[in-house]
């Protein structure tokens, strides 16, 4: 395990972390999500070494770094508000950390030029940070942190102060840069777009506790905690590929050749996509019925959960777990119980096809 955080507890008065456990493999990209005030930034700053935990350990490549000074950890950080040194120009900002590691001025210059080109800020190197746009400032901040080739790059809501277009542009850019630099990254965000577009791993933090960590599809489709389920809002997410497209309907083949029909059009045939269906859009019935609904599937109820005034039903269809939500009276009417066969129906318009560039927000609406 590249980064291993065990039972980390931090008390800063207003903010605290309780028994945080988190692990990352080398070159993983983890997006840490959670509501405001959940302790996301405190966790990042504790990993960076700015706060001391009163309990727990942080291991980096097996080495205990819990009490190691921040400057010895090789963990750099990018903040939402950029924090560019105002007394230095863009070049000097980027060069700041590199100068500590290298003496060779030519090498420093060539490394800065390479990264600046990659981040499309090579024309801004002489500029004062104050004169840059938000997106330019953030690219400079990322360059400054990335140029030192850190063990881990921490990013604290790096895109949240930017407009939507700039966010989309930066997301693409970051993807490419991360590939090029092969950096392990922990990215704090409250935006599900970041999870979908960038993350290999996602962790959900609430009130100082990591509730769940895992692959994006696992966390979103199999939330292990009520809060996670409520927070992520979307449960039925499947990997698949578009196998056919005609008359405004895309056929998406998911696990074990199960085909779902979606009214979302997707031009990249045979390219991997994700499909998502909100639980409340699934209609349950004991028999199939004739209607305009394009998706009607038979499955086996594997779990029934009574959560507040709702009943959550998990149904297995060819190894794919679908989750739906109904009222207790509907549950009684249908005789919902574990092991029962049931029909699931959902409109093609409610089957959302997503790729890395799509907005996850649409699923939340």
């Amino acid at each position: 395990m590249f980064l291993n955080i065990k039972d980390l507890s931090v008390d800063l008065g207003q903010f605290h972390l309780k028994n945080v456990n988190l692990s990352l493999e080398k070159n993983d990209y983890l997006v840490l999500i959670g509501p405001t005030g959940s302790g996301k930034s405190v966790l990042l700053e504790t990993i960076a070494g700015f706060f001391s935990p009163y309990k727990g350990k942080i291991f980096l490549e097996g080495k205990d770094i819990t009490n190691l000074k921040p400057e010895k950890r090789g963990i750099s950080i990018v903040y939402q508000d950029y924090v560019l040194f105002p007394n230095m120009n863009v070049y000097e900002n980027i060069a700041y950390g590199l100068k500590k590691k290298l003496d060779d001025k030519e090498l420093i210059e060539s490394k800065i030029l390479n990264l600046a080109k990659l981040l499309k800020i090579d024309h801004l190197l002489d500029r004062n940070p104050e004169t840059l746009s938000g997106g330019e400032k953030q690219r400079t901040a990322i360059a400054r942190s990335l140029i030192v080739e850190p063990n881990i790059l921490l990013m604290d809501e790096p895109f949240s102060a930017l407009d939507i277009n700039t966010q989309a542009f930066l997301t693409e850019l970051i993807k490419n840069v991360m590939k090029e630099y092969q950096t392990t990254c922990i990215h704090v965000s409250h935006n599900f777009n970041d999870v979908w577009s960038l993350a290999e791993q996602v962790a959900v933090l609430n009130d100082g506790i990591i509730l769940q960590q895992g692959r994006v599809t696992d966390v979103f489709s199999k939330p292990s905690h009520n809060f996670v389920a409520d927070f992520v809002g979307v449960h039925n997410i499947f990997e698949g590929k578009v196998i056919k497209e005609s008359k405004g309907i895309s056929d998406v083949q998911i696990n074990n050749d199960l085909v779902l029909h979606s009214s979302d059009t997707y031009s990249g045939k045979d390219m991997p996509v994700m499909v998502a269906i909100r639980p409340e859009n699934i209609v349950f019935s004991n028999k199939p019925f004739i209607s305009s609904i394009r998706n009607q599937l038979k499955g086996l109820i594997t779990d029934v959960m009574h959560i507040g005034p709702t009943v959550w039903i998990e149904v297995d269809i060819k190894g794919n777990a679908f989750k739906g939500i109904i009222t207790p009276s509907s549950s009684d009417l249908l005789g919902i119980k574990k092991g029962k066969e049931i029909y699931l129906s959902f409109k093609s318009v409610n089957v959302k096809i997503i790729d890395g560039n799509d907005s996850f927000k649409s699923l939340m609406q």
């Binding site: 508000d81 105002p86 590691k101 850190p150």
Partner: protein
Amino acid sequence: MIIMRSKLEIIFISISFIFTAFLFVIIGSIFIIPSPDGFLQSIFSEEMVTALKLTLSTSILAAFFVMIIAIPTAYSFSRYSFPLKNILKSILDLPIAFPEIVLGIALLMIFGNRFLGPFLNNLGIDIIFTTTGIIIAQFFVALPYAVRILYSTFNYVNPRYEFVSRSLGYGEFETFRKITIPLAKGGIFASSVVTLARCIGTFAAVLLVGGGTYLKTETLSIAIYYNLSLGNIDAAITASILLVIISFIAIFLLEKYAHENIEGIG
């Protein structure tokens, strides 16, 4: 373009204008009253030259020592949590609240024939009625002001600048030197100027600890008091003019760099 102003706006702006103008006239009157001959005679007199030299040399030294102590003190108040921090801050603020003469008496007590005085005398160090005494009095009078300004300055410097610097491999002191100090330079300069002005203008504490001996420990402010007591108005006003000029330069620089400080930290 015609700007419509509310009544409140007009009243408040008028008050600020009237009383600033009044203060300006009061200060300006010092420059009108003395006779040119008396002024020239006084300014080049041995007493005035000695007082000016003594005031500037002791004040610069005292201000230097104040800054050496005030920077780490204010930084620790701004950045670190430690026991008794609030009590320490209150104690440091005390001299701002009570009259300077009280501090003078306290210094006289501690460096006089009781407490530290005899011990320092045995080491060959004389404080009372010496130039050293003047510097010590100026130091303690000015220190709280410097700490206050620097405390606000360091509070304005976002600690995340330091976090980023440290995450990029720089140690605590290197970060302080390369990031914190440059970002706080405007405030440090402003604080230095106020400290220097405060040291130059110190009167009661310097009189009590330094003794105000003619041509020996007589600073400009003491010279005003002595000459006024002896009815030597020209000399008193000359010393006042010198103090006003020095203060004006200090405040002018302070205003100029205070602006830079705020913009720099932004």
